[in-house]
């Protein structure tokens, strides 16, 4: 049975990737199981300078999902390179650096610094709903996506993944813009903008007022977007949004994902990535599928 997948020339031992921001830099989950189990680890969103993030509370549960408003708390790209990459290099899993900037120059600068650092791919987070400047503002306009992708590509010496926001009228426009800008792969979806109010105190539960919705609740939106994007671009796709078990992962692959990322599911089950990988294998055994790539985009539309 083959579980290897290839994303823009980078070979992953299996299609399971950790979703940025839910897995830190791998240290904590790495205490629980070997990160060699993973195809790749996509690390917490990085910015050029260190960031404190948003005030707490930063998370709450909703029906079948969660809202978060971490706001890109991170030690900055240089500290990441210095302290985290050497740790991650102990494992065979590939490293994806998720980067977010306030300006286009920020992204380019980070792409430069990270290119020789040992990370295997860059993921441009142009869709974070929890910061005021940059972030989602870049990701909801096709022209900006085209431009920022072109610029970053000039500086990146490793493959660039553009991470798309679901908070748009037409996801295919955004995907096509990223493709036209030279993106090597796409990942989707980031979180949907949501809000929850505590009816006892009448205050928003999150100090940031709004937050990003993820988890099982968003899965149908994510599957639809992956399907739509797969129809309109040739780029490899990393699908995510609510994947909780092997069946969910298979559904994303049938919709057109070449690999899948697991985020919120890690919180309930720290071994989620391992058990989702096993679930894919079980499905492949049951349906006599030899190569996991044979699932990609195989949804049957009659």
């Amino acid at each position: 049975m083959n579980l290897k997948v290839n994303i823009a020339g980078v070979e992953l031992s299996n299609p399971i990737i950790t979703a940025s921001g839910t897995f830190g830099f791998g240290r904590e989950y790495g205490e629980m199981y070997s990160l060699d189990e993973l195809g790749a680890i996509c690390v917490k969103g990085l910015t050029l300078a260190p960031r404190a993030g948003n005030p707490p509370p930063r998370i709450t549960e909703t029906y079948g999902g969660i809202l978060n408003s971490v706001g890109l708390q991170n030690p900055g790209v240089d500290m990441f390179i210095k302290n985290e990459i050497p740790e991650l290099k102990k494992y065979t899993c590939k490293i994806i650096a998720n980067i977010a900037g306030n300006t286009i120059e920020d992204y380019c600068e980070m792409a430069e610094r990270l290119s020789g650092s040992g990370v295997d791919m860059l993921e441009m987070n142009i869709s974070c709903p929890n910061v005021k400047e940059g972030g989602v503002a870049f990701g909801t306009n096709a022209k900006t996506i085209l431009h920022i992708t072109q610029e970053v590509k000039k500086h990146a010496k490793i493959p660039v993944i553009v991470k798309l926001s679901p908070n748009v009228t037409d996801i295919t426009e955004m995907a096509k813009a990223a493709e036209a800008g030279g993106a090597d792969a796409l990942s989707l979806i980031n979180t949907l903008l949501g809000m929850a109010i505590d009816i006892k105190t009448r205050r928003p539960i999150l100090a940031n007022i709004t937050g990003g919705l993820s988890g099982p609740a968003v899965k149908p939106v994510a599957v639809r977007m992956v399907y739509q994007v797969a129809q309109c671009t040739k780029l490899p796709i990393i699908g995510m949004g609510g994947i909780t078990n092997g069946d969910d992962a298979v559904e994303f692959m049938l919709a057109g994902s070449n690999a899948v990322a697991v985020g919120t599911a890690n919180f309930m089950n720290p071994y989620a990535c391992v058990s989702i990988k096993k679930g894919i294998v079980d499905y492949m055994n049951q349906y006599h599928i030899k190569d996991v790539n044979d699932l990609v985009g195989q949804v049957v539309i009659k």
Binding site: R27, P56, M268
Partner: protein, 255 residues
């Protein structure tokens, strides 16, 4: 790593006050390594409907048994209350209280409401600590006997005076500090109480540890959702309650 996910058999479960449920489960791994102040991250329902675990303090451990007490508050704890057979627990998590009986000869333990539960195991390990337990009213008073078995110096206070000392436990602490030497204060409870304890301790130059609550995702330090504000400020302003806490030195944090 000293934590993992365990399926823990429920040995006993009873409502010890209105909406307060006292549970003992079997789990040698947690019982043997847990330290006072650490917590459990508990799966209360199926992962589709409730993607988050709920943090609940370890109240006590003995041999292969772990005891925790929770208040039925919302969806999660109401559902937890229905589980009769086996509970899925990630733990033990977080930093425990610092116990150093040499330097801290005269410890005071002060808790309020559900914040009293993480203090029981602590009180047991300290040498005859002075213990102040505050509750809203008589019907809420819990664990009094357990604390009294741990120390001869236990006083219960109720806000409405329906039982024990009439008033806030913090008043007892104020008096104590005036009269006696206090080397260290350990506290857990509602934020206004912690704020008062912190102020009092710092005004009197007493070392003080407080246990904080925050909404959590992963529980193990990876997701950065459970922040509390620290006194360091700047870009290192926020620490993780799950990993750097839940127990902090009062001087480390801003309440």
């Amino acid at each position: 790593m000293n934590h993992d996910v365990y399926k823990c058999k429920v040995i006993s479960k009873k409502e010890i006050a209105p909406n307060i449920v006292d549970v003992t489960v079997l789990c040698r791994e947690i019982a043997e390594t847990a330290q006072p102040g650490q917590f459990l991250h508990i799966k209360c329902g199926d992962e589709i409907s409730m993607p988050l675990r709920r943090p609940i303090s370890i109240c006590d451990t003995f041999e292969d048994k772990v005891r925790f007490i929770f208040e039925r508050k919302g969806r999660g704890t109401n559902h937890l209350n229905l589980i009769e057979d086996e509970i899925d627990i990630l733990g033990p998590l977080g930093n425990p209280f610092t116990i150093s009986n040499d330097a801290f000869c005269n410890p005071v333990v002060i808790g309020g409401g559900i914040g009293t539960y993480p203090l029981l195991k602590l009180a047991k390990l300290l040498e005859k600590p002075t213990v102040y337990l505050g509750f809203r009213s008589k019907s809420q008073v819990t664990l009094e006997e357990d604390f009294k078995a741990a120390s001869p110096n236990v006083t219960v206070a109720t806000d409405d005076g329906s039982y024990g000392y009439n008033g806030f436990a913090i008043e007892l602490l104020k008096d104590k500090i005036k009269q006696d030497k206090v080397d260290v204060i350990y506290s857990c409870g509602p934020t206004p109480m912690l704020r008062a304890v912190k102020e009092l301790a710092e005004a009197n130059n007493i070392r003080c540890q407080i246990s904080l609550e925050q909404r959590m995702g992963c529980g193990i330090g990876a997701c950065l959702t459970c922040s509390c504000e620290t006194t360091s400020g700047g870009t290192w302003k926020y620490k993780r309650v799950c990993k750097n806490g839940p127990v902090f030195w009062s001087t480390e944090v801003v309440l």
